[in-house]
Symmetry: C2
Subunit: 138 residues, 2 copies
DNA sequence: ACACATAGTTTGAATATCAAACAATATATA
DNA sequence: TATATATTGTTTGATATTCAAACTATGTGT
């Protein structure tokens, strides 16, 4: 079989499984999908403006307004006035929001741990190195 | 840095990039997200009942009714009576539906090809082998 | 027969998302 | 400085997605 075909098949299946996994993790929590994604971005990249958050999430600013409204109501995040631009807000995770992020992060980590559990050290190293290369190049 | 942390970071980033890629590919086509996913499942696993399709997609049968209605209206799929159970339908891709599947498949293939283009043969082999192992074990 | 289970559809409500209009503020240009 | 233009975020109105629950038709077991 063509190595590319083989790579593709395994890639598609892996992506599919990871999607299901991610969705089930989100559904276990109290946040809706949009809120969970927003918290993940804010946790990963730190506080940012509505515009940058919209861009990171791949949605319009109107949609982000709703998402952040809900996060604020739930006590997960706050809007803070930007110092330099009075039109702009910086969205910051509260302690509760950060806890939610860390919880999600722990889930990811245990997923990675599970994967690593049935790989040899050499395989882990190779797999990580290739992923890093792909992330850099794509 | 802990190898697990490193694996996790790269995994999360890779998944994120692949999600964006998948979404942009779907948006280039004429199908909505649900329809595109349904066609992918039907193309991959072959014709199946509404119930099995719902399960494969991770949605309720009510949602799948809408999705398949639209695929049928667009000429991508047909409902066929199941031989053994008159309550049940088998959803089958039409030629147009199969073309759409093949087109999507080609996109995936060119994605895999792009990835492979900056990996060595050895890296491709290792990466594929690890993915296969993960898919088998998870 | 009869009750119960299952496949799929319909319905009504909740949620998500967008594009466009809008208000407030910033920036560039005359 | 004044004025036009651009940008940030919100609001609005419309459309799309999805679900749970009720429903129809059919199957299964007692």
């Amino acid at each position: 079989m063509d190595p590319i075909d083989e790579l593709n098949e395994n890639l598609v299946e892996f992506f599919d499984r990871m999607s299901s996994w991610e969705q089930s993790v989100i559904q276990q929590g109290k946040l809706n999908v949009a809120g969970a994604h927003a918290i993940e971005k804010l946790g990963q990249f730190g506080s940012m403006s509505m515009k940058d958050l919209s861009k990171a999430l791949g949605v319009t600013t109107g949609t982000t307004t709703i998402t952040v409204d809900r996060l604020e109501n739930g006590g997960y995040a706050v809007r803070e006035r930007a110092d330099n631009d009075r039109r702009s807000y910086i969205i910051r995770l509260t302690e509760k929001g950060n806890d939610a992020y860390l919880d999600h992060h722990r889930h990811h980590l245990s997923f990675a741990k599970e994967i690593a559990s049935f790989l040899t050290d050499e395989e882990i190293e190779c797999f990580t190195a290739v992923l890093e290369k792909i992330n850099r190049e794509i």
